[in-house]
């Protein structure tokens, strides 16, 4: 071990390449997954120093047990009306996804992404935040908008890129922007919203405002440098922000092991920055609500950021562009041990005597009908296709506040050429 001599007899190195538990055609089992009991995780005071509850990054905050009872210190004790409102938003989101997915298959739009199985993640959070808290979502949090009561027709208009699309057909379907609902413009580039959310929260704090920010990304997206700079800034300036990592086990075809899940949890990422970190059963709307409320309290009282890992499962393909059967076991979704978030919340309402199976069926029918009616209205504004729903001239508008000469010239030339060609 002289500093300049090689070592003799060293063993050969090996590269470890992660493998998911099951590939197509294989049995799927989550037997190795230790699922802590509902109610088992402790609840620190929302102003406790992060070093005092690091174990929560390795635990799993669960409120609803297998019988649908709400148990333990994280039980948010919501009144039945609020529970029903949450349930309704979740069912509505699912109905919306279902219809829009089919609309894509029918050629009415080019692209869609469902959030099946993950509805609680968005809707639990939306109910725990104030309506003017600012949201910086990824593409899979349509539930936030629906929970905030935003116009579903407006969302559909965007998906159809039709004449009523406020975004003027400029964005891929589902890349909503709704300032009125404090919902930031969604980007196609993963994780870029993370430092933006932190910056928004820092600005709010610097101004002595009261509004906090929340942001979401997938577990796969945590690998981007933007995630890291967001955590660093959030930690350094104690930004009033909630950083949500939706661990739905998959990133397109790559299982969470390629984002680091074999080595630790995603909540542990927050530990690395000294950020308060919680790991939550993402299929348990009450757990998501409680964790978000706790984090919001913490942020509102100047105790800084919280990172929440939502442990859930992407029950469908990544988007309409992929077939999950090509890369994972088709039995996996059924084997997922944390159940279905809609069923679990409904079960809870039934368990406390505030709901019935019949009411649930009725709610689902009603939501489906509402979505179908909305779809009809939206389609009256046109659907996507090779026809052009927007005037050509609009393409050049809004690049800058004022159109500079070179864009004006390009606009003029294009319109002239189109005209000359009889288009």
């Amino acid at each position: 071990m002289n500093p300049s001599s090689p070592l003799a007899n060293r063993p050969a190195l090996r590269l470890h390449v992660p493998e998911p538990p099951a590939r197509p055609g294989e049995e799927a089992s989550f037997a190795d997954l230790a699922i802590p009991e509902a109610g088992a995780a402790c609840q620190p005071a929302s102003d406790a120093p992060p070093a005092e509850f690091r174990e929560l990054a390795y635990a799993l905050i669960r409120v609803l047990d297998d019988e649908g009872r709400a148990v333990g210190p994280w039980n948010p004790r919501l009144d039945p009306d609020r529970l029903r409102a949450m349930l309704r938003a979740m069912v509505l989101t699912r109905a919306f996804d279902d219809v829009m997915f089919r609309a894509q298959r029918q050629g009415k739009t080019s692209f869609y992404m469902k959030s099946l199985g993950e509805e609680a993640v968005s809707i639990g959070a939306a109910f725990a935040l104030a309506g003017d808290d600012m949201l910086f979502p990824s593409y899979r949090q349509q539930g936030l908008l629906i929970a905030r009561g935003w116009s579903i027709e407006d969302m559909m208009n965007q998906i159809y890129g039709n004449r009523a699309d406020r975004l003027m057909g400029r964005q891929l379907p589902i890349m909503y922007s709704v300032k009125e609902a404090s919902f930031f413009s969604i980007s196609g580039n993963l994780a870029t919203q993370f430092p933006q959310a932190v910056g928004w929260a820092m600005a709010s704090a610097a101004k002595g405002d009261t509004r906090i920010a929340a942001t979401w990304c997938g577990e796969g997206s945590t690998a981007e440098g933007d995630f890291h700079s967001a955590c660093t800034f959030a930690s350094v300036y104690r930004a009033p922000v909630i950083l949500n990592v939706v661990n739905n086990q998959w990133a397109i075809s790559a299982f969470s092991g390629f984002a680091g899940a074999e080595a630790t949890t995603f909540a542990a990422r927050g530990i690395g920055y000294g950020i308060a970190s919680l790991r939550v059963d993402g299929n348990d709307a009450l757990a998501v609500f409680a964790a978000t409320q706790w984090a919001a309290d913490r942020a509102r009282t100047n105790h800084g950021p919280t990172l929440i890992e939502h442990f859930t499962y992407r029950a469908e393909g990544h988007s309409t562009s992929d077939d999950p059967g090509a890369y994972r076991s088709s039995a996996e979704a059924r084997a997922w041990p944390l159940g279905d978030p809609v069923a679990r919340l409904a079960q809870h309402l039934v368990a406390i005597g505030e709901w019935s199976e019949g009411q649930q069926a009725e709610l689902e029918r009603e939501c489906a009908a509402q979505i179908r009616a909305t779809q009809k209205a939206a389609e009256a504004n046109g659907v996507f296709g090779h026809g052009f729903n927007q005037p050509f001239a609009t393409m050049f508008e809004g690049v800058f506040e004022q159109m500079p000469w070179h864009l004006a010239e390009q606009q003029r030339q294009m319109l002239d050429e189109q005209k000359a060609a009889g288009l």
Partner: protein, 335 residues
């Protein structure tokens, strides 16, 4: 073209144990465009593997592997997502040979689908090749046919310098003639669709004269080669069409000879106009062929706007715009 790319990777993986393929979804799944389908099964997870979603990391890791002595072929899933890797590409891969006086090199080939025409919206349609041509130390290669794609990709992998290899995704499955409202065509029957199974190389830095002609020279690359060729055919004009194939190093001799012969030059690319590679081509042509030019060098390019999802076909440089630009080259605008 996807098959040709897959075949190039296959050939190189088989020939050279130092070739490794890495990127988001390239492993078991075989890539979102299927470019790496079947390769992991054949060569194992040590040679073809999925990566975390960090383009910065993918390129940084590839550079380290290159410094070790491997020949990594990282994929960036869409060219629109190459920006997080820009620092590693421009400050590291491109500069390593120079700054270490040849001690360390980064013989990596970065494959990435680019360009529009598939309704991908702002972040699945961009053509950022111009940026890479501005950064010294990088080669930039763009094929337009299956035959070229394979030969150029093999040459790129064998090259000892870092190569950015942009694949025009619009023509992955067939040549596209620019008429979005007509049925799609497949590669079947195209003269350049026949791809030999074995190893062959198309030298980097050599353009292809796709059509000889006397009236004007059209410089283009990627998907635009087909749109141009089709428009020229429709106009029945005697244009010389040059498919650049490699932007850096550029085949200036072929360009210069052609423009001196025809006296007119049009440049066509999808990328935004301002400071796009077309600007460099225009500058070079007028610097070198000034006294031969009978009309200003023209450009048909993407507009200086973000890629607009629903107006894609108004944005995409198509037959209408190319025709009109060709006609303008023959108008006498002398004041």
């Amino acid at each position: 073209m996807i098959g040709a790319i897959n075949s190039a990777l296959d050939v190189m993986l088989a020939r050279d144990a130092s070739v490794v393929v890495m990127g988001e979804d390239v492993g078991f799944f075989g890539g979102v465009f299927r470019a790496t389908a079947g390769l992991q099964k054949r060569y194992g997870t040590h040679r073809i593997f999925d990566t975390p979603i960090t383009e910065c990391g993918i390129i940084g890791v590839a550079i380290g592997m290159g410094a070790y002595g491997l020949r990594p072929v990282p994929e960036i899933q869409f060219a629109d997502y190459i920006y997080p890797a820009l620092d590693q590409l421009v400050s590291e891969a491109a500069r390593l040979r120079y700054r270490s006086a040849g001690e360390f090199t980064a013989p990596i080939t970065v494959r990435s689908p680019f360009g529009g025409g598939i309704f991908g919206g702002q972040t699945h349609s961009q053509s950022p090749e111009g940026i890479f041509t501005h950064c010294s130390g990088l080669k930039t290669v763009i094929p337009s046919t299956p035959y070229d794609a394979k030969g150029l990709l093999i040459a790129a992998i064998e090259d000892n310098d870092p190569v950015i290899f942009f694949e025009p995704k619009r023509i992955y499955n067939g040549p596209f003639h620019g008429h979005y409202d007509r049925p799609a065509t497949s590669w079947a029957g195209h003269p350049q669709a026949q791809v030999p199974t074995g190893h062959y190389r198309i030298a980097l830095g050599k353009a292809a004269v796709v059509r000889e002609g006397m009236d004007l020279t059209i410089l283009c690359y990627g998907a635009m080669v087909h749109v141009v060729a089709n428009t020229v055919a429709e106009m029945a004009i005697d244009a010389e069409i040059i498919d650049l194939r490699t932007l850096i190093p550029l085949d200036i001799a072929t360009i210069e000879a052609s423009v001196k012969k025809t006296g007119r030059c049009l440049i066509v690319h999808e990328a935004t106009r301002t400071s796009g590679f077309g600007a460099e081509l225009s500058a070079l042509v007028q610097e070198r062929c000034f006294y031969h030019l009978e009309a200003p060098v023209g450009r048909v390019t993407g507009f200086d706007t973000p890629y607009p999802y629903s107006l894609e076909w108004a944005y995409f440089p198509g037959p209408v715009r190319i025709r009109s630009a060709i006609e303008a080259l023959f108008e006498d605008l002398r004041p």
